[in-house]
Every structure is written in structure tokens, then in C-alpha cells.
């Protein structure tokens, strides 16, 4: 069974419809890119996948294990966070909330996992640094470490490379790709169609025409020719 099966999904706010009749599947091990212009509804789509908001119509089915273990999520950065006084450690550890339920304090298991995620994202030297003193790339790595802490099989990343310079961006891509090679399924929003055609196994293009398919299908489709011509 696929991790997520989406059929005939329509999304919108109140009376405004943003995406109409979208169907796709996410299989274990996939690396799915969601591309599209500003305001096309990428964030709305993944918020719906995360059950943060209800769809207008359509159906989303989850594999049992996915619901139980949870989804690692890296939200689009908000301005509130940029000058937040919290250490890298505090933020990464807060990724364990899912496992806490109503218990108020973290266990030694939680700390162990948080430490591993920090090591994985090469943040050991920054563990006591304040989030607001970090560079944009480091901040994104912290949020990625927090998402990893969920220990789910699926990571959903909302524009993890926006605002990063090309070198740091490549580092981020490499990190995410290595996670995907370790068996974690990745759904990633990006504006970078070039990167999508390089790394993705599947691509969703949201625009006047919806597209869902494998990378090769995308490269041969009208959607990609149309957007690269523009």
C-alpha cells in the first residue's frame, strides 16, 4: 500500500478554490517535488496532507504505520522565528513532542534521538548556540534536524532552501538526498525546477495545468517545456 493516496482532491479557502481534482500517490522511498509559482497552493496542499486544514472535497488515505509514527515536518519559515531566543538543542528536542503525548517532560530516549539528529545534520558545534544568531542555512538545518526527530518514515519540507545562497543550497540538497537514500520518503516544495529535475523521483507541478508523474514523464511533458520556455 502506498504511504499516501490522494484522490480527486480539491483545495481552497472558503469559497475560493485553489487546486482542483488533484490525484497522486506517494510510495515508500519516493522523492517527490512539488513545484509551482508563488501562491499556487503548494503550502496549502501539504498542510492538507498534514491534516492541518480540511480539504474542500476528495480523499486522502494514509498507510497505518504512517499515522502511528507521524510525519516529520519543516514548515515555511515565519518571521517570528528569525529572532527567537532558543538554543539549537531546545528546538531540535521539541521535535519529540509527537512521542510525548500528555507526558510533560522528555525522556532519556528523547534526548538520545535528538542528539543523533543533531549529529546527522552536522550541528554538534552549534548545539548551545542561539537560533537567532545562526545563518539562514544553519537555521534550516536545525529545523530539518527537528523534523528528523519525529523518526517517521516521511519528511515533508516546505521550501527548505528558500533564501539560501547556491553553495549552502547544494549542501542542503545533498543532506536531503542522503536522507532519502537511507530510506526516508521525502516530499519537498521548491521553486527550483532545475533541482527538481535533478533529484526528484516524482514531480507535482501546480499551475494552470496540474501535472503528476515521474521525473522522466515530467521532462517529456508539455508542462515542463511550457515552464522552461517562460
Amino acid at each position: 500500500m502506498p504511504l499516501i493516496t490522494v484522490s480527486d482532491l480539491t483545495l481552497g479557502y472558503e469559497s475560493k478554490i485553489i487546486i482542483r481534482n488533484l490525484s497522486f500517490k506517494v510510495e515508500r522511498g519516493d522523492y517527490l517535488y512539488i513545484v509551482g509559482e508563488n501562491g499556487s497552493g503548494k503550502t496549502t496542499l501539504i498542510k492538507t496532507l498534514l491534516k492541518l486544514q480540511p480539504p474542500v472535497s476528495g480523499k486522502i488515505e494514509y498507510e497505518d504505520g504512517l499515522t502511528r509514527k507521524g510525519i516529520g515536518y519543516l514548515p515555511q519559515q515565519s518571521n517570528i522565528q528569525k529572532d527567537f531566543p532558543a538554543t539549537v538543542w531546545e528546538i531540535v528536542l521539541s521535535g519529540r513532542q509527537k512521542k510525548r503525548g500528555l507526558r510533560p517532560f522528555y525522556s532519556s530516549e528523547d534526548r538520545k534521538v535528538a542528539n543523533e539528529c543533531i549529529r546527522r545534520m552536522e550541528l554538534e558545534s552549534l548545539i548551545k548556540s542561539s537560533y537567532r544568531d545562526l545563518s539562514g542555512g544553519q537555521q534550516q538545518r536545525v529545523l530539518l534536524a527537528r523534523a528528523l526527530c519525529t523518526e517517521g518514515d516521511l519528511l515533508i519540507l516546505d521550501e527548505p532552501v528558500s533564501g539560501l545562497d547556491p553553495v549552502i543550497m547544494e549542501e542542503m540538497y545533498a543532506l536531503v538526498e542522503s536522507l532519502n537514500r537511507d530510506g526516508i520518503t521525502v516530499v519537498m516544495i521548491s521553486h527550483d525546477i532545475a533541482a527538481a529535475t535533478r533529484y526528484a523521483s516524482h514531480i507535482i507541478h501546480i499551475g494552470e495545468k496540474l501535472f503528476f508523474g515521474t521525473r522522466d514523464e515530467y521532462l517529456n511533458s508539455d508542462t515542463s517545456k511550457w515552464s522552461s520556455a517562460k
Binding site: P75, P85, I91, R100
Partner: protein, 277 residues
């Protein structure tokens, strides 16, 4: 000077004022961190004006126990303000401004029309800027304050990790199954409780200072959320004690003296923060 101070400390009314002052300062600082970081501090400001309006109603009705009116009204408005703050149609800050100015005007109006007191402007002034009422607390006032403060502190300690998660990132918290709406409502209710308590200490116009100053000061010098929380609680308690003692010794108004101490602490933290950076 020290001798007079110790003499004063023997008096029960001074002891009561210090206990209540310290507890209120502690609670408002704890919550202040979250409110400031969530950009909710304007709600605190609006609520303090609502509390003034409620106080006016209680005064006009000549209630012995005015808490019965003030607390529910303020809590209700806290929840309403939070809701409208999240509503995209009415601008959150405009809604708060509307309610707070409205409550202020309404409060003064009904006090003017219905009050039987001979010293109206004195009454109004003391509700706005705090009176010596902190020095005339009854035993039951003190107990109410102690139990509400303990409740606030327990809430904060028990839900500390959740509060941090919700403050730092609502979307992520929601996605990991935290019921963000519930916590936001709890935070709003706690804010209302603290504001009502603090009205005795500094008066309704100066409450926001108690909520905002300590956490802003702590944020200048501390790196972690935990240290910001601890530091702002400590600063707030020290400033409240200093303010109270100075006002008793020098006969200055209690509320303004405490806020002056908070402002001074902020200035010091600002300088320390600059030097560190």
C-alpha cells in the same frame, strides 16, 4: 534606613504586600515571555483596559467582592480577543484597540454617571495607576492571590515544553498532534487571571509593563528559552521587591515605582546585550 526597613518588615501589611507583589511579578514575567514572543503582548494591554471597565462596573454596583465580576469579564474578553486575533477578516490589532478603548471609555462613563463617591477622579486615578490598595490587602485577598498564582506557576511548569513548542512554531506543533487551540486559550485565560491580580499591584494602565519589560530585558542577554524564562522571572521579582520597598520608604506611588525599576533593569540589560554582541 536599613533600620526603618526592618521595622517596616515587621508589619503584617508590608509582609502581605511583599508576598503578593512577588507572586504577581513572578507570574506576569513567566507568561510575558510567551506573550511577547507570540506577538500577543497587545492582547495583554487590551485586557488591562477591559479589567478597568469591569472594575468600574463592580464599583458602581458596590460589590464587596469585586473579583466575582472582574475575573469572568476579563477571561471572556481574553478568549474573544484571541479568536478575533486569528480571524483574518477583522484585523487583530484593530479589534484589540477597539475593545480596549471602548472599555476604558465605558468604565469612566458609568463611574461618572452612577458613582456615589465624593472623590471620583481620585478613584479613577487609583484604578488606572494603582493605589496604595496593595498595602491594605485583607487576608482573603492574599489567599486568593496565592492560590491563583500557584495555579499559574503549576500550569507553566507542567506544560513548559508544550508552551515552548507552541510559541516557537504553531504549524509544527499542530502537525505533531499538539492541540494548539487549547493551549492558546489556556494562555489567554491565564493572562486574564494575571492581569486581574496585577491590577491591585500597579493599576490597570501599568500592567503591560509588568508583562513586557522583564521578558524583553531577559531576551537582550540570554540565549536559550529556558534562561530567558528564568531570568525574566528573577528580574521581575527583584524589580517588584525593590519598587515596593522604595515606595514604602520614600512614599512614592507603588505601581510607578515598580515600573520605573523594570525600565531601569531593561536599560541595564540593553547595555549588557550591546557589550556582549
Amino acid at each position: 534606613m536599613i533600620k526603618t526597613l526592618f521595622e517596616y518588615l515587621q508589619y503584617p501589611f508590608v509582609q502581605k504586600a511583599l508576598i503578593v507583589g512577588v507572586l504577581i511579578a513572578l507570574c506576569s514575567a513567566l507568561l510575558g515571555v510567551t506573550l511577547v514572543l507570540k506577538r500577543f503582548s497587545f492582547i495583554g494591554d487590551g485586557l488591562s483596559h477591559v479589567a478597568f471597565g469591569a472594575m468600574a462596573i463592580a464599583t458602581v454596583l458596590n460589590l464587596v467582592d469585586n473579583m466575582v465580576i472582574i475575573l469572568p469579564i476579563t477571561v471572556l474578553c481574553a478568549v474573544l480577543l484571541l479568536r478575533t486575533g486569528q480571524n483574518t477578516k477583522i484585523k487583530g490589532d484593530a479589534a484589540v484597540a477597539m475593545i480596549s478603548v471602548g472599555a476604558l471609555a465605558f468604565g469612566y462613563l458609568i463611574m461618572n454617571v452612577f458613582s456615589t463617591s465624593s472623590n471620583l477622579s481620585g478613584d479613577v486615578c487609583s484604578t488606572l495607576f494603582g493605589s496604595q490598595s496593595i498595602l491594605t490587602l485583607s487576608a482573603s485577598d492574599v489567599w486568593i492571590c496565592i492560590s491563583l498564582s500557584v495555579a499559574v506557576i503549576l500550569f507553566f511548569v507542567f506544560f513548559y515544553n508544550k508552551i515552548f513548542a507552541v510559541t516557537f512554531d504553531e504549524s509544527f506543533s499542530k502537525a505533531s498532534g499538539i492541540r494548539v487551540g487549547v493551549y492558546n486559550t489556556l494562555i489567554a485565560i491565564t493572562t486574564a487571571v494575571i492581569i486581574v491580580l496585577a491590577m491591585n499591584l500597579v493599576g490597570s494602565l501599568l500592567i503591560s509593563a509588568l508583562i513586557i519589560f522583564p521578558s524583553l530585558s531577559a531576551m537582550r542577554v540570554c540565549k536559550s528559552f529556558k534562561m530567558v524564562t528564568v531570568m525574566s522571572a528573577v528580574l521581575s521579582v527583584i524589580c517588584a521587591m525593590t519598587g515596593l520597598i522604595v515606595s514604602i520608604l520614600a512614599g512614592t506611588p507603588v505601581g510607578s515605582t515598580i515600573v520605573a525599576a523594570d525600565a531601569a533593569a531593561f536599560a541595564v540589560c540593553l547595555v549588557i546585550g550591546r557589550i556582549k554582541a
